[in-house]
């Protein structure tokens, strides 16, 4: 991977003046992805915070071609652009190499855009789909999505007397769903580990076929923490086992960063206001269950990657 010094000499492709909240993870992710790309890009983006805040008419923060589409069809919109590019190339009307990246939030990917994503993976388009996962519909006011972690309070999974735990159901594991499509390259990344993220993006863009990266996107408003803490909290997600960093290349699992000793899952819960209610005495059982589940998931992943499980 090129050094930060080298990367900083490249042209900045996302301008300032976009209207995402202060401390938003989505634009950190986009900047890191755009610095990783070596070829000209075409971007599509599902409705969501990123799309709404970066392209408020008549402004666009993107210094590259950007297609605005509806909530459900970021993947299919871009698959059309990619098919047109292949056709033009075959006809000799275009000779440069262009890469395609579709963005979607967790709402636009886990829920609303799932069938479009599945279609793209099955049809085998040559594009990268990036899901920036902040774990709820943040743009419309923090409604739960199928990516919201169990136990999180959102405006549609509020904490109350009848339901003291917030969201009752565990989150969907989208990365595994994409792996099941036999995509040639699937990965999970985190902007706090920018080296790892940039490497994965470069690998995905240089892989023929439909590739996918699921990226954790810290959200100060929805997760309830102070805006300056975004990177620390993103880091904690990986250190506590909530967001393991791994890649699956042609079916072969590899853990790209494994903390020497996993930090207690409780630290992850303590770092954010959306989990605050879980720390009370009456929710002790739920926390213990979540801790057990994280450990089980970790061991499952370690087994898939052929690594020894942690003794702790």
């Amino acid at each position: 991977m090129p050094s930060l010094k080298e990367l900083s000499k490249k042209k900045e492709l996302l301008s300032g003046g976009q209207r995402l909240c202060a401390g938003c993870g989505a634009s950190i992710i986009v900047r890191q992805i755009l610095m990783a790309a070596e070829d000209p890009l075409v971007i599509s983006c599902a409705t969501g915070c990123l799309e709404v805040a970066t392209t408020i008419y008549p402004f666009s923060a993107w210094r590259i071609p950007f297609i605005h589409c509806a909530f459900e069809n970021s993947a299919s919109t871009l698959s059309g652009a990619e098919a047109a590019y292949r056709s033009l190339k075959r006809q000799g009307k275009i000779d440069r190499t262009i890469k395609f990246i579709a963005f979607g939030g967790d709402g636009g990917t886990y829920d609303i855009g799932l069938q479009a994503l599945s279609g793209v993976l099955e049809r085998g388009h040559n594009l990268l789909y990036v899901c920036y996962d902040n774990g709820a519909y943040m743009n419309t006011g923090i409604q739960r999505s199928s990516a919201t972690p169990q136990g999180a309070a959102t405006t549609t999974s509020p904490v109350g007397k009848a339901i003291p735990e917030g969201k009752q159901r565990p989150r969907k594991d989208l990365t595994q769903i994409v792996v099941a499509h036999d995509s040639p390259y699937v990965a999970q990344a985190n902007p706090a580990y920018y080296n790892d993220l940039i490497k994965k993006v470069q690998k995905a863009l240089n892989t023929e076929g439909p590739t996918f990266i699921n990226i954790l996107s810290p959200c100060p408003r929805g997760w309830r923490y102070e805006s300056s803490q975004s990177i620390q909290i993103a880091k904690l997600a990986t250190l506590t086992g909530f967001w393991p960093l791994y890649e699956v290349e042609n079916g072969k699992y590899r853990i790209t960063y494994r903390p020497k000793k996993r930090r207690p899952f409780r630290e992850w819960l303590e770092s954010q206001g959306r989990f605050k209610h879980l720390l009370s005495e009456k929710n002790k059982g739920i926390v213990e269950r979540l801790e057990r589940e994280v450990e089980e998931k970790e061991n499952k992943l370690l087994a898939l990657a052929g690594e020894t499980p942690s003794s702790a």
Binding site: E6, G16, C24, Q32, T54, Y57, Y194, S228
Partner: protein
């Protein structure tokens, strides 16, 4: 910006000037302003790679300062600086300072 009539708007509502969001100032959102101590800074560029608002000005791999037109004052740069070279200073301090100078 002057509002356009429908005849002046490009077909399909296209935005023809890529990256024109930079004309929109988001610096007014700030309550705390990042201020860098040049002596402590070693140009590691971590603030630059983590800035959500493309607001760390870098030339030839050296940090030149902040883009206060667009910096929203989130404080990530200050929190991530390994040399403790970025301080978040209350914005009112600068406003009062400017007033005093007038």
């Amino acid at each position: 910006m002057k509002e356009k009539g429908w005849k002046e708007i490009p077909l399909g509502g296209l935005i023809l000037e890529a990256g024109n969001a930079e004309k929109y100032a988001t610096g007014g959102w700030r309550t705390y302003r990042p201020v860098r101590d040049e002596k402590k800074c070693n140009d590691c560029l971590l603030c630059w790679v983590y800035c959500p608002d493309s607001s760390i000005i870098v030339e030839e791999a050296k940090i030149k300062g902040f883009d206060y037109e667009h910096c929203k004052g989130c404080g990530i740069c200050s929190a991530q600086c390994p040399k403790d070279a970025i301080e978040m200073v209350e914005e009112t301090k600068f406003v009062l300072q400017e007033k005093g100078e007038q």
